[in-house]
Amino acid sequence: MAETSEQPKSAPTRLIVAGDTVLALPRHIKLRHDPGRGRWIILAPERVFNPDETAVEVLKLLDGQRSVNDIAETLSQQYQAPLEVVKDDILAMLQDLTDKGVLVKAERGATP
């Protein structure tokens, strides 16, 4: 198995999402509107995720620049909801989607 069995340089680890984490959808994850069913969907390997309105708002704000804190602030103003409540809510959602491979850490300055 010469030259084929190169191990990854570092073992992959779980990304813990925090307030200053900047997330992005990797290229192969597709957030799009499903016109036939009148709803937003996330297309992923052998999965279809059905985000609700709030989740869609959050995901649309993942531009590879904004941190979780930035997004929480934007939404807390938009919905006039307490910042901490919004932040805790979206942190849980973003961690879950990250664990499922739907979100990754953005490379700063790169477009997702």
Partner: protein, 407 residues
């Protein structure tokens, strides 16, 4: 699957026949069930039944379709356009070995152009880096690579193909280099179940984001080879424990989907997430099926995509209407509170074991056949004289299995 759904996002696994009944989400939890019943979200395309491997649990029918009856490039491209129009979201390009089709890139290109999420299900052994790069360029979204075992020699024996492992490791590396997500699919049975833990470790090493511990489902070739493939309940429980431990260890690193052998499950699996509900299958020659094993139900007739539009077949085709919903059910399914959870189990299994596809799947404890059916697994899995494989090949089923002692 002990996952808790995120607050704001619900998840639909592709409603494959083999999906675990416990905790698996419904095929399509959209707001309008009538609409969801009208459009499949997934389409499995068996582009060809040609394959360099001869795995004895292949999900293809025992009567394999020959190359000269396969749909043309233009016909497959038209299928893609029709599917997108119908509301299909994801397509699974499968086989046989789909890369045996020289026009795969042209089919992928059209599928991607019409907005379908494209998944290549491959054994990998005949792929080149150049070919894979062309597929990525055409718009391929995801690669599912099968492995037969983590021990190369055993893998070669199971697939009746020499040197597959080195090639698969190389293909996995190319998939990652080209920036595509990778799933490792590992069919699990008596002759590799001892390696489930190592299989998951191996998938992580290959950089996969997802691994399927896919216990073999006993239809078609696997039913023919059941006595050589059925693991003991003890081995299954040990493997299930290893999966749970790996889920903890690799949380956030790899998604592990475990498909349970229904001989050892508590309830029957929801066949295809409900017959004609979430997924449609097209054979190499263009026959449109509600499930890849449906042709084993000899009382059904199937339409061909060359004769009738996909939407019409999906909505009105006799084979699709036969077991759609719940009105076809007999007792004990008809009055069962789980009837919209498991849909009475698998129609193909009901037909194979009871002669009537409308009967309760013997996997269900309420089936009168249940005890007899479980006893088969108990006896076969403990038999020390494991029969030889009947390998998957055209006419292979005719071969009489021989027995030899492996212990």
């Amino acid at each position: 699957m002990n996952e808790i759904a995120p607050t704001h996002v619900t998840e639909s696994a592709m409603p494959l026949c083999a999906r675990s009944p416990d905790g698996a989400p419904a095929a399509d939890p959209g707001p309008d069930p009538a609409l969801c019943a009208r459009a499949p979200i997934g389409m499995l395309c068996e582009l060809t039944h040609r394959c360099p491997l001869q795995c004895p649990y292949c999900s293809n029918p025992v009567e394999l379709e020959r190359a000269n009856v396969e749909l043309t490039t233009a016909e497959w491209q038209d299928v893609m356009r029709q599917a997108a129009q119908l509301g299909v979201l994801q397509i699974h390009l499968s086989g046989g070995e789909p890369t045996a089709r020289k026009d795969l890139e042209e089919i992928v290109k059209v599928a991607a152009d019409v907005g379908l999420y494209t998944n290549l299900i491959t054994a990998g052994v005949t792929l080149t880096r150049d070919r894979l790069a062309k597929l990525v360029e055409a718009g391929l979204d995801h690669v599912q690579l099968s492995i037969q075992d983590v021990d190369p020699e055993n893998a070669d024996r199971i697939a009746a193909y020499k040197g597959g492992m080195a090639k698969k490791i190389q293909v996995a590396a190319w998939v990652k280099e080209l920036g595509l997500p990778l799933t490792i699919n590992a069919p699990i049975h008596r002759q590799n179940i001892h390696n489930v833990g190592r299989t998951i470790d191996f998938a992580v090493e290959l950089g996969a984001g997802r691994v399927e511990i896919a216990h073999v489902q006993y239809y078609a070739w696997a039913l023919l080879n059941r006595a050589a493939l059925m693991p003991t309940k003890e081995a299954f429980l040990k493997a299930a424990k290893q999966v749970e431990e790996a889920r903890e260890k690799y949380k956030g690193v790899i998604v592990i989907d475990a498909i349970v052998p229904d001989y050892y499950a508590k309830f029957p699996k929801p066949c295809m997430g409900g017959w004609a509900r979430g997924i449609v299958n097209i054979t190499p020659s263009g026959r449109v099926l509600p499930c890849h094993a449906a042709e084993s139900i000899k009382t059904l007739a199937f339409d061909n995509i060359k004769d009738r539009p996909l939407a019409d077949i999906w909505l009105n085709g006799a084979a699709f209407q036969a077991y759609r919903g719940t009105s076809w059910m007999k007792e004990p399914c008809r009055s069962c509170p789980r009837k919209e959870i498991d849909y009475g189990g698998c129609r193909c299994q009901a037909f194979a074991l009871t002669g009537d596809a409308a009967n309760t799947d013997p996997a269900c404890s309420l089936s009168p056949m249940h005890a007899q059916w479980q006893a088969v697994a108990e006896v076969e899995s403990h038999n020390p004289n494991v029969p030889e494989f009947t390998y998957r090949r055209v006419g292979g089923a005719a071969k009489k299995p021989e027995t030899h002692n492996v212990s």
